[in-house]
Symmetry: C2
Subunit: 340 residues, 2 copies
Amino acid sequence: RRGRRLRRALAARPWTLWRYRELLPLVDFDGRVDLGEGGTPLVPLVGAGAPARLWLKNEAGNPTGSFKDRGMALAVTRARELGAPGVELASAGNAAISLAAYATAAGLPWRVALPADAPEAVERRCRAHGGEVLRFPGTLVEAGQRLAEQEGDFWNVSTLREPYRVEGKKTMGLELAEQFDWRLPEWIVYPTGGGTGILGMRKAFDELAAAGLLRGPRPRFVVVQMAGCAPIVRAFERGEESAEPWVAPQTRVWGLRVPRALGDFLILEALRLSGGLAVAVDEAAIAERQAETARRHGLAIGPEGAAALEAALGLVESGRIGAGERVVVFQTGHPANYGG
Amino acid sequence: RRGRRLRRALAARPWTLWRYRELLPLVDFDGRVDLGEGGTPLVPLVGAGAPARLWLKNEAGNPTGSFKDRGMALAVTRARELGAPGVELASAGNAAISLAAYATAAGLPWRVALPADAPEAVERRCRAHGGEVLRFPGTLVEAGQRLAEQEGDFWNVSTLREPYRVEGKKTMGLELAEQFDWRLPEWIVYPTGGGTGILGMRKAFDELAAAGLLRGPRPRFVVVQMAGCAPIVRAFERGEESAEPWVAPQTRVWGLRVPRALGDFLILEALRLSGGLAVAVDEAAIAERQAETARRHGLAIGPEGAAALEAALGLVESGRIGAGERVVVFQTGHPANYGG
């Protein structure tokens, strides 16, 4: 059977996302852009979240310090393979750094557009790779619009503008399945900006189920956003099928400062089908959760990961997440990317 | 056979250093301090170092951003197991951050001593974990002496003061063997401060050979130090069995600002037995090598990794490393740990 063959093949492969090559859309495996992405650890948060059991899926160890590397490795590999003259996107943070690194490794010209208030550290990290860094007033949405007005024929690899970033994010779901010995956790708590991760993981679980590799039920997703920018949470609570853009987003959690997700309706669908939940976290909780996690667990976590952890702990406390349930909290990036 | 049993067991294990548990000295496996350390990728440096073949063993993705986490995970686990009231060490950089994180995760009190000129970012990262951070005038040697004069009965877990950090560093050798399918590369280029990594890898190769797991010859080590602080290189060139302390070290490559290594004679022995080399790198080459690696390969590397890469490229250019030979360059830490 296909699943058994895959499991056997996995035994001898490097622990990067490329170990799942049969489930990736790549044509030329040897032509991949590989900086060692994926294969991130599942770290038990000992003593936190009882009576549930919590793990951090810590994505900070990726090559540029965030989960964006998964999608970018696939997107840039395919863009080069298909003859792109260059690649570009708008981002407030980790996606820009990741694109800069992967396009550089691929030998492709690149351009990123940052909103005016994106952290200086993000710009510095992008510039180190030698491409073009633009700054525009407004939020991510405006930066994206201004980028589209620029001259040139670079391919736009923004979230859901092309199919391969989802394929890369899919590997988060594949890894979770393998790390839990093919019996997925009851809950996946995910800080949601563009939401590619949720769509990717849902696809991963579908594909693993089709290959006969999953045991037990599917996880329930928890979408986590910030109180000052929570379009998906608001739409979920109102029972809407798509999310109105959030006017005047207020949050310094850069990865969650996304007023409008292109795949809003897909995220909401995945969320409801999984029997999931949506939670908005207060801005004031972030710094404290980061500090507490460093002082108690010895872990430096990013603001997005802190939001997810805060939400998870709240759901345990309120009883929405029950005793003995297994909860994976996505810690999506290293705080140093924002200068922390 | 023991080796075959181990290989079979590895197939289903998480890709952290704990996968080699049969080769680790730990008593209580379930009581380990585990932040997800080890399992770092081997990144091919495409187009660099021809006609040899170069890989970076990129240790930046470890939980606190450096290879120190390997030794510290073992040392702190064992210290707690054996009843230490607390742990301490002197360090100019990554080891201090790592100790702070692991001791915190273990619930042990801790203290670190930094030399006066250690980067401010190092101090900030240590303090985030809530223990005691001291600053002393002079180099690492003086900081170590002053730490020893402090009150209290914390256990000193400095390089080679206890046996477990070497055991943790050993896993770099175990991973290399597994990543190269048990046929080790011809060269290992290693930025050498205290040198625990070389001693650990040598031990790893001995143990794997005893288990019948190695195919082919042992790698040759290249010790890399800075021109302004190169005690091991000088002793190697003079044919001495131990290394005189370096007077007035001059380098901003913090991990290599080690005027005196406790295990100098062991490093020199391992180096000679392997048929290796020792190289001192000019200070001026570091920033340029870091910039070039970011612009060409999309990789952010630390100053120690840059030193090692600079040395490796020089040895290829001079013909000391030959065509087709496989070269692993240790990129031991993330530049952000120093504020970069």
